[in-house]
Symmetry: C2
């Protein structure tokens, strides 16, 4: 059918690749960075400004939206696209990760997770079936299987049991999606297994047998460090089918993105550009700048006079420093904007470099510039 | 000289009038509403969005800017226009009002006021001369004399002494401005005298003898109530020269604006549209709406589907309610925007009604609609 979810990689350069996904709400150029719209808003950004930065797709959080305003409420109001005034594609996570990191009094069983809302203490249950139901009520173009994000560090036996539970939940998610998903919507599996190569391999094989529209690598960027993350990623990606998009969840710094694209990743999401922006940190081609630092107080230069982003081009560092120090809304607005614009520019330049067969040189050069700030994670 | 500050009233309708001021940074259509950019930013608004709402001029607060980042700092960075990326006219207050309302350990003398910053306790002094110096360092198109805003309620003798001090400070401000002001910049006097008609008259006469570019009515909207405010205003405005703009400081609700334009006021400033927006209150033709109210949780209607403002037109009340309840930045951004747009629309409609000689009918009809909400101040 014409509305089917599709993914086509049109160019490769080493393991890196450029492609395009097609969803009910539009196309997504890959490698793609998805701004995080936690509670139905990319924090401190107008949706049209998110679009103008070059974002094709945003992420919504099942956990946050199920608690407030509630999935049925969003559905009654026309779905998440209408609710948040974003007419492009939306990917929703399954809620699993944030139940573990935010909710109170969690209780995990084979069936799913019961927990208390961090907002008002009300009790909720998330199961694979309920997670998919919520994602369908929200109307997400791309949905994620319900999984348990294995904590780090984690002993092998516990990591195995956690991964195997996630695989059983993946199968239940798949069955639920088969009956509830709409035409063109996609469901992605999530590889777990911690930093254990054989567990990752078992997880990838199990998921591939279930045949998902795309495959995410989960359970990374949870404290293992960049080296171990990249090692695990490098071993996992080759286990995934070439004709499906690969999504590295919750990652990361500009360096992480470059090094992961080099390993064949097509999609990313991370709160870093918006959260850092709210805290006065900005990303640029020469690394990170902390605008809280008093050294910026009398600096008349903009963040980047060559940028096409008004936030980076039209305001002095001294003014941005003043806004951050004064805790003005406009500080969070401008720095979130500048950071999201930078992230999208990075993705655009990576896509161009891949198409032109010069990704390795681009990556090397850009990584060298980015590390100039000397304070990278 | 061509750069001279000018004011021309081009149409009158009863006491109401339409005109235009010309400043170094552009023209200002009157009656004008000036959004308040306290610390060098109209809170939660991009400057280009402020402009798009129809604002010709914004207000900056001398008190806030002298404390942070400091007037000399702003001057070194090219002045307030460059600093906040607003190339239109700017009016600055004298700092007097906020020294009284915000600073700690104030000590008033004939010379001026010494006080401690509410931010870090540092000691500052404001005198008429320093206030004008700061306003010149900021580069304000329209500057205000340094005055003491008489508290309310206030006994006659105290109100008289306070007003007479303000008049001596006005004269010193005028002398300071004569030596420091730049071509085309304007200095406005401020009528004080509390709610005492004879003191207001004495103050107005004293200021007119000093010959200012415009005249403000200060010391109102400080707790005396709308009736007493309008009564005092109605007695004060006729004492001011027809060929100079009249500015009612710190006012007010949409009703206040209509009733004051009817009495011949040309300019207003107020934090109400932005502050209310941050607290979930929106203004519209049918009165105020409190979006915190649970009744909006499932309301798919926008604030005003006929509005040309995206904030009022493109988001459901249910979504705005969700943003306010979730304390999301976007809630403050959209509601400040919608409110400033509404205020500017109100000014535009008043100007059109005056030009067309139907202001009284417009005022009557609009006041009736506005009171429909039943919860006006």
């Amino acid at each position: 059918m014409s509305a089917a979810f599709t993914f086509n990689a049109s160019a490769t350069d080493g393991a890196a690749r450029v492609g395009e996904m097609s969803c009910p709400h539009g196309r997504i150029r890959t490698p793609a960075f998805m701004p995080v719209g936690t509670a139905g808003t990319v924090k401190a950004m107008l949706p049209e400004t998110v679009r103008e930065t070059g974002a094709d797709i945003v992420l919504g959080n099942t956990y946050h939206l199920m608690l407030r305003p509630g999935a049925e409420q969003v559905a009654a109001l026309g779905g998440l696209h209408t609710f948040m005034n974003w007419d492009g594609p939306i990917l929703t996570d399954s809620g699993g990760f944030q139940v573990m990191s935010l909710a109170k009094l969690r209780k995990i069983s084979e069936q799913g997770v019961t927990f208390q809302s961090h907002i008002d203490g009300a009790t909720f249950e998330l199961t694979p079936e309920r997670s998919i139901e919520i994602q369908c009520l929200l109307g997400a173009d791309i949905q994620m299987v319900f999984d348990e994000c294995t904590r780090y560090p984690c002993e092998r036996d516990e990591a195995r049991a956690s991964m195997e539970l996630s695989m059983r939940w993946a199968e239940r998610s798949r069955e639920a999606f088969a009956s509830m998903g709409h035409a063109g919507q996609a469901l992605f599996g999530i590889v777990q297994g911690g930093v254990h190569a054989d567990l990752r391999e078992a997880s990838a094989r199990a998921l591939c047998e279930m045949d998902f529209d795309g495959y995410a690598v989960g359970g990374l960027a949870v404290g293992e460090g960049q080296e171990l993350m990249l090692e695990t990623l490098g071993r996992t990606v080759p286990l995934l089918p070439d004709d499906r998009p690969r999504y590295l969840m919750g990652v990361g710094t500009p360096q992480d993105l470059i090094l992961s694209v080099a390993r064949g990743v097509d999609m990313f999401d991370c709160v870093m550009p918006t959260r850092s922006g709210r805290h006065g940190q900005v990303f640029g081609w020469d690394g990170r700048v902390n605008l809280r630092n008093a050294s910026h107080a009398d600096d008349p230069r903009p963040l980047d006079e060559t940028s096409s982003c008004p936030a980076a081009r039209d305001y002095s560092r001294a003014y941005l420093h003043h806004l951050v120090k004064s805790r003005e809304y406009l500080g969070a607005m401008l720095l979130s904007w500048a950071n999201l614009h930078f992230y999208q520019q990075l993705m655009a330049r990576m896509r161009a470099a891949i198409v032109e067969g010069r990704f390795e040189a681009f990556a090397k050069q850009t990584l060298a510039r980015l590390s100039a700030d000397g304070n990278q994670v």
